[in-house]
């Protein structure tokens, strides 16, 4: 594990990704301590204050400090995105592996269902689910998880299918190993690396998807300072106070880039051919 981390840091993307995400994590943990104001504190004299000494990133229409809101907002955004992705990829990975192992009719049925779901664009599907279940942070999370699962199932299946063709799996069957054991000990370890990489990259999408849902009013509700909501709030004052959109927008972008880079780095670091 430490070895993997060392190799991750050796890749340029991995190292930058780790640094960015370290900062994001610190903000999630210590955000409230770092924030100069409470996110709900209204400074009536400072309404629409431009970025300056008093409000580093400016203030919104109620005079709430934008920096504080972004710092607090990390807690509403990043863990939720992580959780949604993990739930979605885990479900997808399990379904995909089982589908590949079962083969035949089961595989056919599962994969055609996946195809059907994949035919609907991810954002649209998430929108559909979120609007059916009613707006809220939890439904947004669930919507993202459901939107992610089919794609993940497809990827895992193809990797598992390739692993299933390998002679070591045939050797395990010929040895008389149980099906569970073959899936857990022979196939899964070979599936896990691409799943981890894919998951990491998907967190980046989840951050943006979550923000999009909030922006559209289907995710977190005011007075939460979830980043998508901040962008949505600031949109009305785009001309007069662009910082209200730029600050949370940059936070979303940087976090997404961080996860993307980490995913790229992990892909290189996890390649078993280079393991020494």
């Amino acid at each position: 594990m430490t070895d993997l981390f060392r190799r991750l840091l050796c890749t340029k993307q991995g190292a930058i990704g780790v640094v960015i995400l370290l900062v994001v994590t610190l903000i999630c943990v210590f955000g409230p301590a770092l924030a100069p104001y409470s996110p709900d504190h209204m400074d009536y004299l400072g309404r629409f204050a431009a970025p300056g000494v008093r409000h580093w990133l400016g203030a919104d229409q109620f005079g709430r400090d934008e920096l504080s809101r972004v710092l607090y907002g990390a807690r509403d955004t990043v863990p939720a995105a992580l959780l949604a992705t993990l739930a979605g990829t885990l479900a997808g990975a399990i379904v995909g592996t089982l589908s590949a192992y079962a083969g035949g009719r089961w595989d056919e049925a599962i994969m055609r269902t996946v195809d059907a779901v994949l035919a609907i664009p991810g954002l649209l599907l998430a929108l559909l689910i979120a609007s059916t279940l009613g707006a809220g942070e939890e439904t947004a999370l669930l919507a993202i998880a459901i939107a992610f699962a089919p794609g993940m199932a497809r990827i895992t299946r193809s990797v598992a299918l390739a692993a299933r063709q390998e002679e070591y799996v045939a050797a395990a069957i010929a040895r008389g190993e149980s099906g569970t054991r073959i899936v857990l000990a022979e196939i899964l370890p070979n599936v896990i690396a691409p799943v981890i990489v894919e998951t990491t990259i998907r967190v980046a999408f989840a951050v943006m998807l979550l923000a999009t849902l909030s922006f559209l009013g289907l995710g977190a509700q005011p007075p939460s300072s979830e980043w998508g909501l901040l962008v949505s709030d600031g949109r009305a004052y785009l001309h007069d106070a662009p910082w209200l959109v730029l600050a949370p927008g940059a936070a979303i972008g940087i976090t997404a880039i961080g996860f993307n880079l980490l995913g790229d780095g992990l892909r290189d670091a996890l390649n078993p051919r280079d393991e020494r």
Binding site: I173, R175, A185, R276
Partner: protein, 527 residues
């Protein structure tokens, strides 16, 4: 006589992440007009790098560190890409190992030849077409006109290789480079391609550089042979001399490793007690799709045979004849009809005692070990499954001539031969009575193959294990098997004692197979 192709002091480096790797070191070779030079070496010896250097088709990280390549007196290494393109295909023809990838799948076979003719001989499309048809006829393809309009996927591997050969010879090159042209083909098809090669040479007088790992094969097609190892040419000389009286130690080892059908490695006769019997074994492949059922080839029908205690039963046949299907049926990898008997008792469900008695070693060392498990974990599984102590792991490794420290290694840290040894150790961890060897030496170098066979025979002496040895290499199987079964198109066509081979009682097809794999040079006189 002036040389046609003259390679002098050629040195080639590859820049890699771990520094500079020297692929060729001071290589000097020459090919006279009309001569065929065989280039023999095991994997990693630099023979393909040399071919690529001659064609000016080097990888991006390759650096020529010195030396020269002259074709008819003109220096090739100094030429730019455009000038090189004019020479490649026109003056140097090429035939690669895998006909499936050396033809463009989106062009008709005819187009692939006419393109070369139009480009390198300046023929008009109409003349090129006529010339192409005549070339297809010269490489003994029937219905040449119809073939011109076919795509590569519509013809067989042997036909594709003939088209590739036609494309190589059609522009009247000075020299043709052959890089393992028969390795990807099965025995009989490969033998016919070699016949064609001999005939075309006699007709056209083209010089050749014939690259192969198979010393026995090269000795048959080339007048002179160069032996490469680790980027060096260790020995060059007339083919017969190299084979009968090698000067260099390494060459001698290579020559010794070539299977000679008349040099038996197994002398004993197995006891009459039978271990396993298959009666009317049948497998039909067909994939159940949602809406339709599709039959596929490769199945077997009504195959019966028996294996005695400690016996080596050879299974031979071309690819697709169902050899491997027998292995898969006996190990429960496919559902099979018919009856399998272990010690006379019918096996209805493959229980642990059957699984333990019948073990299998697969063809590809790279894929038969799980890349995510250490050697220790790989060997621990059968020990746990069939009852055994993990303390046996060092003994198991030593038994296959691997140091016990290998237990903590990952598969990618092993060479192909070492991986195959671990797979053999895994099979023997179960203390089996029958080990199925499915083409286990096919992807190994000759010398590694020889030591693997030696190991198997040693294990048999020690444990009295029987082998079901599946192979396409008749020379090899004639050295070790007690009996042979011959498969063709999923049916068993011949079943014979090894001594009966050559007595004239064989099936016609068996005779054809044997004719297609003649014994190596120097042995022919002794038949």
């Amino acid at each position: 006589m002036t040389a046609l192709l003259d390679i002098a002091h050629l040195t080639l480096d590859y820049a890699t992440g771990h520094g500079v790797f020297r692929a060729l070191e001071d290589v000097s070779l020459s090919v006279a007009p009309g001569e065929v030079l065989g280039l023999v070496g095991e994997s990693g010896s630099g023979k393909t790098s040399l071919a690529m250097a001659v064609m000016g088709h080097l990888a991006g990280n390759a650096r020529l560190a010195g030396g020269s390549v002259r074709l008819g007196g003109a220096e090739l290494t100094a030429l730019g890409p455009a000038a090189m393109r004019a020479i490649r295909g026109k003056r140097i023809g090429m035939v690669f190992q895998n006909p499936a990838t050396s033809l463009n799948p989106t062009l008709t076979l005819g187009r692939q030849i006419t393109e070369v003719l139009e480009r390198h001989r300046g023929l008009s499309p109409r003349a090129a077409w006529r010339e192409a048809v005549s070339w297809l006829e010269r490489v003994e393809l029937r219905h040449a006109e119809a073939l011109m309009r076919r795509y590569p996927h519509e013809v067989s591997g042997g036909e594709k290789q003939r088209v590739v050969i036609a494309t190589a010879f059609a522009p009247h090159p000075d020299i043709v480079l052959f890089d393992e042209p028969t390795t990807a083909l099965d025995v009989i098809t490969g033998a016919r391609i070699l016949d064609l090669f001999h005939r075309l040479r006699a007709e056209t007088g083209v010089a050749g550089l014939y690259i192969s790992h198979d010393l026995g094969l090269v000795a048959r097609v080339a007048e002179r042979v160069a032996v490469m190892r680790g980027g060096w040419v260790v020995e060059t000389g007339p083919a017969t001399r190299i084979f009968t009286n090698p000067a260099h130690d390494y060459t001698r080892r290579l020559v010794d490793a070539v299977p000679r059908p008349h040099r038996r490695l197994v002398q004993d006769e197995p006891p009459p007690h039978e271990v396993l019997r298959a009666e009317a074994l049948g497998v039909r492949y067909g994939r159940q799709r949602l809406f339709r059922k599709r039959a596929e080839g490769g199945g077997i029908a009504s195959v019966s045979f028996d294996i005695r205690e400690g016996e080596i039963l050879g299974v031979v046949g071309e690819s697709g004849s169902g050899k491997s299907t027998i292995a898969r049926a006996l190990t429960g990898l496919v559902r099979a009809g018919g009856v399998i008997r272990l010690d006379g008792m019918p096996v209805t469900r493959m229980r642990r005692d059957y699984r333990r008695a019948v073990q299998i070693v697969f063809q590809h060392p790279a894929s038969s070990l799980n890349p995510r498990q250490r050697v220790r974990d790989i060997l621990a599984r059968p020990l746990r499954l069939y009852g055994g102590s993990l303390d046996e792991i060092p003994t198991l490794l030593r038994q296959v001539n691997l140091p016990p420290e290998y237990a903590s290694r990952w598969p990618h840290q092993l060479s192909g031969g070492e991986k195959q040894r671990v797979a053999i150790a895994r099979a023997f961890a179960a203390r089996p009575r029958l080990v199925i060897c499915d083409e286990i030496t096919a992807s190994l170098d000759v010398s590694v193959q020889a030591s693997t066979i030696e190991l198997l025979l040693e294990l048999r002496r020690r444990h009295g294990t029987a082998y079901l040895f599946i192979t396409h290499d008749l020379n090899l199987i004639r050295q070790i098997a007690h009996r042979l079964i011959v498969m063709r198109d999923g049916t068993l066509v011949d079943r014979l004692e090894i001594q009966a081979l050559g007595s004239g009682n064989e099936h016609e097809y068996t005779r054809e197979l044997i004719a297609a794999s003649p014994p190596p040079v120097g042995e022919e006189t002794r038949t």
